[in-house]
């Protein structure tokens, strides 16, 4: 907002809220990147560290929620301030889920590192980069009240869903061709699913940006192409 509050401490609190959200988002983005890298490099040590570091994201969620609730109690925010406070309250658990998915990817990596390496590793890093990009862009949009940027992320999720759908089919095929690959492929399926879910959360955050700026909930169905949940691959 261009104008400052008459009571400066109100502005300071809003800044603090925004700052914490940026920090939490930044950590989550890094966790996504690190977890994909640990997966590619088959690095158990890194993966273990990622799992530990998730605690910091959880702490920030608590801080943000406390701050938002305090602001509601003490400031009775209205209009844009109310929407900013409520959006802050709603975005924190979203970012925390992103962190959890990155942590789960790291867990799967530790399991995968105990099985022989498997062929289809290209799609997953690509998906991972795309998801990280979406999270970065949507959190930028959130901090800068950029509805257009948020909308672009909202629309990109369809591409991520497509990648997941085709990877799902591919992995099913591998498993049928070579039953020894079932353990690895199953873990990879979960990894891919986690990345796809990160994309979904990014679209949820995009909807929050829309609410924060426009004051209305986005009611359109986002472009979702989740065919994987109904995919059947013929063994013949």
């Amino acid at each position: 907002m261009s104008t400052d509050h008459i009571v400066k401490s109100f502005d300071e609190e809003l800044s603090r809220l925004s700052d914490r959200i940026s920090r939490m988002g930044g950590l989550a983005e890094v966790q996504i990147e690190r977890s994909i890298e640990a997966l590619q490099r088959r690095n158990t040590e890194d993966a273990t560290q990622i799992i530990e570091d998730d605690a910091r994201i959880d702490e920030l969620q608590v801080e943000i929620e406390d701050l938002a609730i305090q602001m509601i109690a003490r400031r009775q925010p209205l209009a844009t301030d109310l929407r900013a406070t409520v959006s802050g309250l709603k975005v924190a658990p979203h970012i925390e889920r992103i962190g959890d998915y990155a942590k789960n990817i790291a867990r799967r990596t530790i399991a995968l590192n105990q099985t022989p390496p498997i062929k289809p590793m290209f799609t997953i890093p690509r998906m991972g980069r795309m998801a990280r990009g979406m999270v970065q862009d949507v959190l930028d949009a959130f901090t800068n009240n950029d509805v257009a940027k948020a909308r672009a992320v909202w629309e990109r999720d369809a591409e991520l869903d497509d990648m997941y759908d085709s990877l799902f089919r591919e992995l099913l095929t591998y498993m049928m061709e070579d039953p020894r690959s079932i353990t690895s492929c199953t873990h990879l399926l979960f990894v891919a699913r986690n990345i796809e879910r990160i994309g979904d959360i990014a679209t949820n955050i995009a909807e929050l940006v829309h609410y924060q700026v426009e004051g209305e909930t986005l009611t359109e169905d986002r472009p979702k192409t989740d065919e994987a949940s109904v995919t059947v691959v013929d063994s013949n």
Partner: protein
């Protein structure tokens, strides 16, 4: 058999929905209709082109910084501004489609129909009983003591004051606490069967509990009266009203559904005012 059962089940729900829709004012009737109202204090153009429809049996709040004209406009609705020599009112204000500034209007009758409650409670220097009875007596609304007794009791009950004062009706109105005095003033206004009640910052002088009781009373009263309240408290406007109008520098900047004004106002001036970005 199944169809009948479904219809029977559906009908009560449909009725419920209809009633709710009426209560939440999907196109309520207009009680007070103001169009292009301009008010001058000598050369000072205090209010410009005010156009607003006050809905019947709802609470409409006027908010805005000091000096913005909201109280001036409130006083137009019961022609209290007539008592101010230098004040000139132009434009049209209609209640139930009748122009209240028409030459044939009896202003005294108007002020019974459109009651007013002020910021500082101002009970008459009379007993509690006479505070309520005075208006109906001079308007010839009561025939004798029984009539008057009933009307006094009914008015005090409606204002939520009866239990507290029924055993001391002969005591002066001024012996009551601030919150009680204000409820007495509301009872006094109700006693002459108004249709509209104007309230100019009715809770400013009251503590939070007294304020809450008045707000609860306002909520009950709106079933039977049209209420317009001027308030400095944004939170109060948000709590009690269904429609809110924001005044600034003599202009009616924005008006609309209270929920909308306080969550997503259209005008930046409204936004800045309600978020405390200017006073």
């Amino acid at each position: 058999m199944t169809n009948t059962a479904m219809t029977e089940e559906n009908t009560p729900k449909e009725l419920e929905v209809t009633v709710e829709a009426n209560e939440t004012s999907d196109a309520p009737l207009t009680k007070v209709d103001a169009r292009d109202v301009n008010v001058y204090y000598a050369d000072n153009h205090a209010l410009r082109d005010i156009t607003i429809a006050i809905p019947e049996n709802h609470v409409t709040s006027f908010i805005g910084p000091s000096g913005c004209g909201k109280s001036t406009f409130l006083r137009c609705i019961n022609r209290m501004n007539d008592t101010i020599d230098i004040c000139r009112v132009e434009g049209k204000i209609e209640i139930d489609s009748a122009d209240i500034y028409d030459r044939n209007i009896d202003v005294v009758q108007l002020r019974a129909k459109v009651g007013m409650v002020f910021q500082k409670p101002n009970p008459f220097p009379k007993s509690i009983y006479d505070n309520i009875a005075y208006g109906p007596r001079i308007h010839g609304m009561v025939a004798g003591k029984t009539d008057t007794d009933e009307l006094v009791e009914a008015s005090l009950k409606r204002a939520g004051l009866w239990e507290e004062v029924k055993d001391r009706l002969a005591q002066p109105g001024t012996s009551l606490s601030g919150g009680q005095q204000q409820r007495l003033c509301i009872a006094r206004a109700i006693a002459v069967s108004p249709q509209v009640i104007l309230m100019d910052e009715p809770c400013s002088a009251l503590d939070p509990i007294a304020t809450a009781r008045i707000e609860e009373l306002i909520d009950e009263l709106r079933q039977n009266f049209t209420i317009v309240i001027v308030t400095h408290s944004m939170q109060q406007a948000a709590r009690v009203s269904q429609k809110t109008a924001f005044f600034h520098l003599g202009e009616l900047v924005e008006q609309g559904n209270t929920e909308h004004i306080f969550t997503n106002p259209v005008d930046k001036r409204t936004q800045d005012y309600i978020t405390g970005r200017f006073g």
